[in-house]
């Protein structure tokens, strides 16, 4: 099972410039762990000291906005696409 993740431009500096990454995971949290396992530099940006997905990261999945604390129960299916972005800040 593979899910594609769209990476925000600022994080591509640690993703070899790739716009899309692919990994396995049945939940968003599982998918993020798989990405971090493969790319330790990316781990710093996805997970905080307590091991939780950073609070300001949000996901867009099938038209829904999924917040970081919901990522552990949001299930994924083979072929899904996920957009990783951050909570809007500013005007």
């Amino acid at each position: 099972m593979s899910v594609r993740v769209h990476m925000p431009p600022v994080l591509r500096v640690v993703c070899g410039g790739e716009r899309w990454l692919a990994a396995d995971g049945t939940t968003i949290t599982g998918l993020m762990r798989a990405l971090a396992e493969r790319n330790p530099a990316l781990r710093l940006h996805l997970f905080d000291e307590a091991g939780a997905i950073r609070g300001n990261i949000v996901f867009l999945h099938k038209g829904d906005l999924v917040r970081s604390h919901e990522a552990g129960v949001r299930t994924l299916a083979d072929g899904d696409e996920l957009i990783l972005t951050n909570a809007l800040a500013g005007g």
Binding site: P9, V10, L44, D48, E49, R54, G55, N56, A89
Partner: protein, 377 residues
């Protein structure tokens, strides 16, 4: 005589290089990353610290100032470390999802990087000290500092509880100093195992603050080869110590003295930089803590040979200037004659030749400049 400058901004690093300190080339690196600090080690590798409210803290390294690679590791507290509630309240504006409500201690910014005796040190917010002995590949907390016995009395400044200054002694690897806003200045003489406050002679930032750890130090500078001579820009004025920080004296003769919000009069400002070859020290006074711009709108750097008397240096600097120079935004290239550089909160960068006798605007239109470091050679 070539010099490189790394100016950190909330939108990346402006890197300027010059072979003659007159003509400068600029390129912009790490776009999108708030760049908070930089350093260079004794083998010529450059380090940049970044932080993002969304994606956390990280470090990059480069051997040529053009190609930057992020490390897999960065300073991080242990999950069981408890945070300072008041610091959480201050930095919590960016904590949309309430992570801080769990009470942990998080590294939300690297304020400063310092290379000494084969170790790269990072001073961070929430206030703490970390060390890397493998050129940034891994980081260890300096527990003696991070668990300093007075820590529970430490009160954050308006920008949070940050360890923003690290100084070293070239002749004594066991001696280091760290400055924390607003808990004052600390020194270790045993390689980081124990730390003592070094604030005698400096008023606490407010009367209610602890006498020994209530000082709002803004920046401190020394020459590592003559390390016990220290100059300190405090919220409450400019001070000098000749004994490694054991005692401090106010040294403001010739500096503009203004009124703080609590009625105290002193020379308020942020950066404090020493030119090692001449021993000259530089500060940029602002019109008190309420206004935080140069008095009368005339941007002026002040220089002193020994702290006893200060000389204004404004040749080439603008009037009608209502910006500030932040604590990390000034540096000296340590060449002879010495060059001094600073950036403003409104994105202009100045080079001061001949120890600041002549200033030249070498960049403008940059984002808010939060750090400047000059590297000769």
């Amino acid at each position: 005589m070539s010099v490189s400058l790394i100016a950190g901004t909330p939108k990346g690093a402006a890197i300027l290089t010059s072979k003659d300190r007159e003509r400068w080339d600029l390129h912009f690196e790490l776009p999108g990353w708030p760049v908070t600090a930089s350093a260079r080690d004794d083998r010529g590798r450059y380090y940049i610290a970044v932080n993002s409210p969304n994606y956390g803290v990280a470090l990059f390294a480069s051997d040529d100032l053009k190609s930057w690679k992020q490390f897999d590791a960065a300073p991080r507290y242990r999950p069981e470390d408890r945070g300072n509630p008041e610091h959480h309240r201050i930095v919590g504006a960016a904590d949309f999802e309430g992570v801080l409500k769990h009470g942990g201690r998080f590294v939300d910014q690297i304020w400063t990087l310092h290379w000494a005796h084969g170790t790269l040190y990072a001073g961070v917010s929430e206030a703490g000290l970390f060390a890397s002995r493998d050129r940034g590949e891994s980081w260890q907390p300096v527990d003696g500092f991070n668990n300093q016995p007075s820590r529970d009395t430490w009160v954050p400044g308006a920008g949070g509880l940050g360890a923003h200054t690290i100084l070293s002694d070239a002749k004594n690897p066991d001696r280091l100093w760290v400055g924390v806003s607003a808990a004052g200045f600390f020194r270790t003489d045993d390689g980081g195992k124990t730390w003592a406050p070094k604030n005698k002679g400096v008023d606490p930032s407010v009367e209610a603050a602890p006498a020994s750890t209530g000082q709002c130090v803004h920046s401190v500078s020394n020459d590592p080869e003559n390390a016990s001579l220290l100059y300190r820009q405090e919220h409450r004025g400019v001070h000098k110590s000749s004994d490694g920080g054991d005692t401090w004296q106010v040294m403001e003769d010739g500096l503009p003295v203004t009124e703080l919000s609590d009625g105290h009069h002193c020379s308020f400002g942020f950066p404090c930089v020493i030119d090692r070859k001449s021993g000259s020290v530089f500060v940029v006074p602002l019109d008190g803590d309420n206004f935080r711009f140069p008095r009368g709108g005339k941007l002026t750097v002040y220089r002193s040979d020994d702290g006893a008397r200060w000389k204004p240096l404004g040749n080439g600097l603008p009037g009608d200037c209502y910006t500030a120079v932040l604590r990390g935004a000034m540096s000296a290239d340590q060449l002879s004659p010495g060059g001094v550089y600073f950036g403003t909160a409104s994105g202009a960068l100045y080079a001061g030749a001949d120890l600041g006798e002549r200033w030249q605007e070498i960049a403008k239109g940059l984002p808010r400049i939060t750090s400047v470091a000059a590297y000769a050679g």
